[in-house]
Amino acid sequence: MMDGLILNEGVIVKRILIVDDAATVRMYHRGILESAGYAVEEAMNGIEALGKTLETPFDLYVVDVNMPKMNGYGFLSELRGQEIPQQPAIMVSTEAAPGDEAAAYRAGANSYLVKPVQPNQLLMYARLMLG
């Protein structure tokens, strides 16, 4: 199966889903990732993210922790329970308390970053995890 979005020119663009209830954070992360040529979509909570994912799975997920309706942990564990290609997920949190990182990994994240995430840092992690 071919990952990413195939453009007319035959160029494959990796698709990234940003899941965050804060519009400013979504805008910030979108700007960084789009500037590097990625195709970005947004979801405001875990439920919306799951719906979009089941329509067309993404190549990378950048997921906030605290969100209404379904939080980041809930979304990731639901995502990892689906019979779809399992792609990397970065959990992004304002928390840096002991145990938070492990909780993110238990839920299904592959990496854990603390906000505010520096543009270079986000891009570096995205590139590494997308291969």
Binding site: G81, A89, R106, N110, S111, M124, R127, M129, G131
Partner: protein
């Protein structure tokens, strides 16, 4: 006077007095392990305290003394009258510097030459005696000692540095700047010595570029000992040689500093790779394979390490949630992506096989738990 400095002077006098007494004790009983241990610890403590301030003249001598006593403590060298005399000279010098600090709160730069001479005298003794030990024990593993930060003329692998940076460095050479290449390989147990090699590498004065490499073949992820440092650093810096020697003063045996000839910066990557490849072949007998897309900065390499460590942590989790299989598959995807981006051939098949086994095992485990 600054209370911290006052405290340092008071403690340093006490330590110096103790060092003098122990040296005399050892002249009577040179094999007394307890006294040798105490002596080493005192010099080590004094060196550590001097390093808290900017007293390089003092630290340099104490560091050489500490290294020398370390050899004695490890049984690599015997305690001798000559060794005691040179250490006493060195400690007299440290006492003299302490007096100067007490009256002026600093050390005059004019002491730098004496400091270098005394440190060299201690280190020379280390090499001489180690050589004599080696010749006495023919057939045993030779003791290698680098007297100080090494400077040599072998061409370092400058092809690792992106061309744009090399061109910039070459231009700056034209303006009179000088560059140094540093190969820094921390000892594997450095984390237990309170060392932070990553921080040290990043804080290198005048750092223009850096890269982190593995100093030894890495074991499978699950067997990786995260308390063992298996890193080495390649750094390109615009700092002066003296500044670099001073900066790496606590780890002189772990660092090689090479003055970069401006012409090396202009050689094409291909030429450099060929030359470096030949050198590597001569050393190891086999070509060294470089990653297809090597990390271009220390930050990228650090991120890579952190992501790999995270995958290791995930694989080590001992819970069995309903989504375990998906979690394992996501880790496998990350590792395959890594393998692709680093140009590691054949890794995909191995990961797939491991994943299939892990998923099957997870299913069995879930069934038996359920």
């Amino acid at each position: 006077m600054n209370p911290l400095l006052e405290q340092f002077l008071s403690e340093s006098r006490e330590l110096l007095e103790g060092i003098g007494q122990k040296l005399m004790q050892l002249e009577d009983s040179p094999n007394d392990r307890r006294v040798i241990d105490d002596l080493f610890r005192s010099v080590h403590t004094l060196k550590g305290k001097s390093g808290l301030f900017t007293f390089p003249e003092m630290t340099r001598v104490l560091h050489a003394g500490e290294d020398l006593l370390g050899k004695v403590r490890n049984g690599e060298m015997a305690f001798s009258r000559e060794l005691a005399d040179r250490l006493l000279d060195a400690m007299d010098f440290v006492g003299l510097l302490s007096n100067e600090i007490e009256s002026t709160e600093c050390i005059d730069a004019s002491h730098a030459a004496d400091s270098a001479r005394l440190a060299e005298s201690l280190r020379t003794l280390m090499v001489d005696l180690a050589d004599s030990v080696n010749s006495d024990t023919a057939g045993s593993t030779p003791v290698t000692t680098k007297p100080t930060v090494v400077t040599h003329t072998e061409i370092p692998p400058l092809s690792e540095v992106p061309e744009t940076l090399r061109i910039e460095a070459f231009r700056r050479c034209g303006d009179g700047e000088k560059f140094h290449w540093i190969a820094y390989q921390p000892v594997p147990e450095c984390f237990f010595q309170g060392d932070d090699p990553f921080h040290r590498a990043r804080q290198t004065p005048g750092l223009l570029w850096g890269r982190v490499l593995s100093s030894e073949p890495l074991p499978p992820l699950a067997e990786l000992d995260t308390y063992r440092c298996s890193l080495k650093f390649h750094l390109l810096t615009a700092a002066f040689h003296e500044e670099l020697v001073e900066y790496f003063r606590y780890v002189p045996d772990q660092v090689e500093i090479v003055a970069v000839d401006p012409l090396w910066l202009t050689i094409s990557e291909c030429e450099l790779e060929n030359r470096v490849g030949v050198e590597n072949n001569l050393v190891s007998g086999s070509p060294v394979s470089e990653p297809k897309t090597p990390p271009e900065s220390i930050e990228a390499a650090a991120a890579l390490t952190r992501v790999l460590t995270a995958q290791q942590q995930i694989l080590a989790l001992d819970d069995h949630p309903a989504w375990l299989s998906g979690r394992l598959k996501a880790v496998a995807t990350v590792l395959k992506n890594f393998g692709n981006s680093l140009g590691i051939a054949g890794v995909e098949g191995q990961i797939e096989a491991s994943l299939a086994a892990a998923v099957a095992s997870a299913s069995v485990s879930r069934c038996s738990n359920g």
